[in-house]
Symmetry: C2
């Protein structure tokens, strides 16, 4: 008999009432109530498991009923309705095959474990309810993103990870090499001879796919990337990891207002998608991780995002009767405390736009005032900055001037600048950190718990 996924069984159990099925999975718990016993079983295909009832006269009952959490079993039995019970049906076992029983050495015993401990068990923690829920929401959100962009005519582009050009600056990138560190080749002037490396020059793993994305947007009009990204930041905070996933759409013939329309529509699509398909997981997370999570998400779908200039945000912050740790300033970035205040002030997501040019990147469109750039950050309640985007400078001379002003090395990005000569047009794009989104959707407050195997300074296990 072919086994059935527990998720499928939970969805269609009425089709199986009175029939024999086989399920295979892992024991959450087993307990003996004298003449019979229960196994809570899940195969991970869904958030919810299934209850298997075993009669004490089963051959291997004594072994089955003392199974530890994490043991693998294959159960065959009949589906029986259980009205007035907490689950609508159960499996009355005919046979429970023990495949691999765990013993006391199994790191995840029944007692609740701390997140810190579970990070040390990254290969096992997806078996816990919390991480089952988080990684399931993560998978749903990824699919929502692909669906949103594909349904709206965007091309999915795999921009390169290995690069010699980068929009975030090479001091923030990991160098890669095939050279042997303890047997390096040297040039005559005593430098490491990178011409002997596989690519014949210094190469990196990238911090952004934006530049390559723009090249594709100027061919396909609407593109998105969705891939891993790397930063060398040596900082141990709850929101920084050295490896994370990014979504970077670029849209030709689209200005800043059009970009905000897209960001708002996309975010609502993702949230709606997750609410529709992950309610069991969200309700669990609402109960144990972030009270009010479901209400927060429902509200976003139905809200109209505020759009406000950076200088007007500073006005609001200055007028606020708050003692700031960092004093708000027209020429400066805004701090975490400001983000928090402003999203609470408007009671919902806020687009902050038209930022002082000196704190933003060279590729952003210079506004007519000569002082600000057409950049926009989306701030969301409880998570701060979720998306950063801008209209891109499409004028060749202006972008070259900005590079000069900001001491940007243009030797490896001449092709990028040339895009401004060959059929250039108004175009815009944004970057959304995927883990930030997952944290927002799940209420998880540490990025290490939103990534399957997180990489942070001094921490690259598994």
């Amino acid at each position: 008999m072919r086994k059935i996924d527990v998720a499928e069984l939970n969805k269609k159990y009425t089709d199986y009432l009175g029939k024999e099925v086989t399920v295979a999975g892992w024991v959450k718990s087993a307990r003996d109530v004298k003449s019979f016993g229960f196994i809570d079983l899940n195969d991970g295909t869904g958030f919810k498991g299934v209850q298997v009832v075993c009669n004490a006269d089963m051959d291997n009952y004594a072994n089955v009923i003392k199974l530890n959490s994490g043991s693998s079993v294959v159960c065959t039995g009949n589906i029986v309705a259980t009205p007035n019970n907490k689950q609508p049906y159960e499996i009355q076992a005919k046979e429970v095959k023990i495949i691999c029983a765990t013993d006391d050495s199994y790191p995840l015993q029944k007692k609740a474990s701390s997140f810190e401990f579970l990070r040390e068990q990254a290969y096992l923690r997806p078996r816990t309810n919390t991480f089952n829920a988080v990684f399931r929401i993560r998978s749903l959100a990824a699919m929502a993103i692909h669906e949103y962009f594909q349904n709206n005519g965007y091309l999915y582009v795999h921009t390169p990870l290995i690069t010699t050009a980068d929009c975030e600056g090479s001091d923030q990138m990991f160098k890669i090499t095939t050279l042997n560190f303890n047997d390096l080749p040297y040039t005559q002037d005593g430098k490491v001879d990178l011409s002997k490396d596989l690519f014949g020059k210094q190469s990196f793993i990238t911090g952004s796919g934006q530049l390559h994305g723009e090249a594709f947007a100027l061919a396909f009009s609407k593109i998105y990337t969705f891939g891993p990204t790397f930063r060398t930041e040596n900082s141990n905070t709850k929101t920084h990891a050295n490896e994370f996933w990014m979504i970077e759409p670029e849209i030709a013939f689209c200005d800043l207002e059009g970009l905000m329309d897209i960001e708002e529509e996309m975010l609502k699509y993702i949230v709606r998608y997750v609410l529709d398909r992950g309610m069991n997981e969200l309700q669990f997370l609402d109960k144990f991780i972030q009270n009010g999570l479901v209400e927060k998400l429902e509200k976003v779908v139905n809200s109209k995002f505020v759009r406000i200039d950076h200088k007007d945000v500073i006005d609001i912050l200055k007028q606020a009767k708050v003692k700031w740790e960092f004093e708000p300033d027209y020429g400066e970035d805004i701090a975490k405390e400001h983000e928090k205040y402003i999203t609470e002030y408007f009671n919902g997501p806020v687009f902050i736009k038209n930022w002082p040019k000196d704190i933003k990147a060279y590729y952003m469109k210079l506004n007519e005032d000569g002082k600000t750039v057409a950049a926009v950050d989306l701030e969301v309640p409880g998570a701060g900055e979720l998306i950063g985007g801008s209209q891109r400078e499409e004028d060749y001379n202006k972008i070259v001037n900005r590079c000069k002003e900001m001491n940007v090395d243009t030797s490896t990005i001449d092709w990028y600048l040339n895009l401004r000569k060959f059929g250039s047009c108004v175009h815009s794009g944004f970057g959304m950190g995927f883990e930030r989104l997952v944290m927002y959707l799940t209420g998880i407050d540490n990025i290490r718990d939103a990534i399957p195997f997180p990489r942070t300074p001094k921490n690259c296990n598994y």
Copy 2:
């Protein structure tokens, strides 16, 4: 007026007959026929563009009609049916705004360019018909893969790219570092002091997500990865790149036969998806790149894939009246010429299974004969090996023994081996190189033309 995507217009032009629309995109060609002129325009949202008709009395007619390929324009005009013409409608322009005209310095002039030349123009080549088609099929195939797995209850997992463990061997991996090559720290015994590196030890970018994928399969039963992968191979062939994308599903409680069922179903789903949504592109590629492409793909969808043991394949090859470059042998891998022969022999895709253990990896399930492993390669006509998979060894003692026999360093994969202690079960998985798939789907015969910005030895531009 808000602009409309050309793809949308081509799909629903009857809704717009007699109405005014605005389209924005790039000129493919412009030509003057005395009292009026034509612009072939595409915005890249679809494979097919739109014809814009301009009257000679238009203000800027003289400039419009001499526009070079690649110039960007915004056109407003009425949609008019054009029966008996090659396209069912055209836009009668009221206004053509020239946004950025290209001149003679534009690298892609109207004449056809060689693939070699276009590789040097990787940032512009998506504007050509061939690469428009290839990258569009690539995007469709990626979505097909996500749809197939998500619809069938698989969890999408982002396995880490930065790793200290790898299933393909560290000599095939790029090392990453934040250290300055020309100012390296040393330990007392004169070795480079990697404890000073960001992760405090030697780390790499990965050649596979399989090991981490297995950990997740033993929690969620059915998972898939889809992400970039890296190999340091210093080989310049048509099928090797140093950076490529892989799909690596892992399935718990699934044996080799079950794995082949999944591979066959998935591949047919992808091909069907691309046939349904990319026929314009496929017909173009059929005409200019690989004659018979569409027929080849249609045939795969309706075929039953052959399943045959490695030793029986060797029998067939030995009996063949062919003078081989490499003599087929029971203990050996099969060569390109053998792959070609065997797919032609069976006239369709062939699963070759149960390979000699000595030429396969330590993690593959040892068969009862003690000589072969439960591995399977899928060979497809015209492209050779497309997918490689196996049942994984689920027995702790057996996998540890295999590691010893094959001198596998287990110090960084103890957690992976421990999966065999904690609720282990029969499980299987495969890896499909995404570029190989794209080559198969498009008929493109060089991997450099199936990747947006290919990375090969001495070649890391853009």
